[in-house]
Amino acid sequence: MFDSLTSRLGSVFEGLKRRGALKEADVKEAMREVRLALLEADVALPVVKSFIKTVTDKAVGAEVLKSVTPGQQVVKIVNDALVEMLGSENTGLNLLGEPPVAIMMVGLQGSGKTTSTAKIAKRLTEKERKKVMMASLDVARPAAQEQLAVLGEQVEVKTLPIVPGQQPVDIAKRAMQAARLGGFDVVMLDTAGRLHIDDSLMDEVAAVKAAAGPSETILVADAMTGQDAVTVADSFHKRIGLSGIMLTRIDGDARGGAALSMRQVTDCPIKFLGTGEKMDELEEFHADRIAGRILGMGDVVSLVEKAAETIEQEEAEALAKKMQKGEFDLDDMAKQLKQMRKMGGMEGLMGMLPGVGKMKQQMAGANIDDKMILRQEAIISSMTKKERQNPKVIHASRKKRIAAGSGTSVQDVNKLLKQHLMMSKMMKKVSKLGKKGFMRSLGNMMPPNMMPPGGMR
């Protein structure tokens, strides 16, 4: 849906390739594109304006490095400024003070407070070995307290017993009291969703804060939030005082400009990102990743990290050795397919690479999905050891047998063999590039190699 900023800026700078320093007129034109990109990413207008001003000042007169185009240079300047603005300090939760320490979660309706509360509680319990209790102060939404109780059971964190009819301030006091008596380290207070303009509810949450004295007050906000993000964050911050922000549904396809808006207007760090519906899908904030996302430049860092996590070191080394010798048999291909599946399948992988938006659509059209990967694994599993090590021996009758064994057709087997041939050619090239070159070339080479002529089916 969105063109990447890099390619857009590329067209702005077409025709003025490689000249010394960036001129004011050129920068101005580029900034028009940057402005549009930021607005499409839902960064709030006032924030966009101040950002553009800062970046313009930095960009005018900047030397264009020899090896890059002016467009890339501008993207670099924009990206760096964005990362800086998003905040680079690593910020864990502040749990200092006499236990029990309270952490209060606030936000609009449906922003994901209850789920986030349980996720943080789980993390504190498991990773920081804290004794945590959760309490729901949501007396407005039907069954909200039950929801937290159920989540508490799932993540094995105690929840405060529900007393029907009790009001939020009293629940908060009761939670603190119970935690004190029970020797808990942390009390997570999940408040009801409220509009920042609802005076009585804002008074209520302020009273809860006064009663519990939390060391952290975290605004939970949806990554899909539009221009209103500034208003919401500003109102909550002015009214009750925030200490941090948690951005949820970052696993959606929203560009997440709200992160920048809220960070800018409250000056509070973004502490966590909610990355899925499962209870362990909580990540620390990385400014560089979000900056790349807002600019539509793909999430290269994440890809590299995820790849490092998933590919087992030893296997990788063994494979690297083989590759250097120019050997890449079907067993290796099977391993590759398995790793690909672990990394979130083709779609997950593609989503993280820059500039593959269009390619993604083509792939969707070509029916390249994770089932295809599974089918290919099945084909390889149906081969004999000899066949896997030396695919040249696979002739017609063997192909028939393999197809029958894997529940596919001979055409499918042919396609796989062709793909293997292409991959082994690529591997030979890669071995010349070295490790770094591999990640880079992945973006350029994999899709055409993964996609035999004429699509998959």
């Binding site: 849906m1 607005l39 039907p142 929801q147 221009q227 209103d228 919401v232 396809d253 929203a254 709200a258």
Partner: protein, 305 residues
Amino acid sequence: MSWFQKLKSGLSKSSTKIVSSISSVITKRKLDDEALEELEEALIAADLGPVTAAKLTASLAKSRFDKEVTDEEVRGALAEDIAIILDPVAKPLEIDRSKGPHVVLVVGVNGSGKTTTIGKMAQHYSAQGLKVMLAAGDTFRAAAVEQLKIWGDRTGCKVVARETGADAAGLAYDAIESARAEGADLLLIDTAGRLHNKKDLMAELEKVVRVIAKLDASAPHNTLLVLDATVGQNAHSQVETFQSIVNVSGLVVTKLDGTAKGGVLVALAEKFGLPVHAIGVGETADDLKPFEADAYAKSLMGLAD
């Protein structure tokens, strides 16, 4: 308070900002390039999106460029243009009692307000004398079933439910059978919130639709996408994906009682032309209102009706 007042007071918090920014741009001054740019920005700040904002501004420029204009004129003209875009999509949901039952599937991303909207719809149609049944199809989120059951109690509607973790498609099937047996006029089926870019979850939703069609080939008669007004440009992607997968027939826009303007609606109306059946302006059962283009456009621009 009448609903219009309520909408207006909700929107006025948002429109105050638009109005004050537009007023500061144009108080009897020449509508020049600079003024137009600031005008465009005011619309962008209302989530209309850069493209729609540019288009509306351009159309204003056509008729009034370089003329002395007042704040009121500009607002009026913009409201008119917006109303023209929104008018074709302002259609209430029509329930056909002869369908026995008329099946409405409610879908959307997490936290958009599906369950609450169903509760409000249950109230609305029960009050009109229809026999309404609810299906607690969000079998994923903790306590979502309980949440809908409470709405069932409040509105006196029967709720078909299974335990959390049950198959949503199977539940929908049961719900239609039991709605038929009970002679219900309207069956509202809740679904779990899902992000539209999650293929497996969208496939699950597709299955729900497929299973429903087994019992009644014309069902679901309506598939409503619930959109949160605070959502920005991502709404485009939501509508596009949900529409392509489960054939969305209309929208409900929630949380319009905040400062979010839901201006993206204007862009959505232009691009997709999907009917906007209702808007949510609060947490109580009565806070579901019909969507009226003129009133909405005027309140958005801060004009009295």
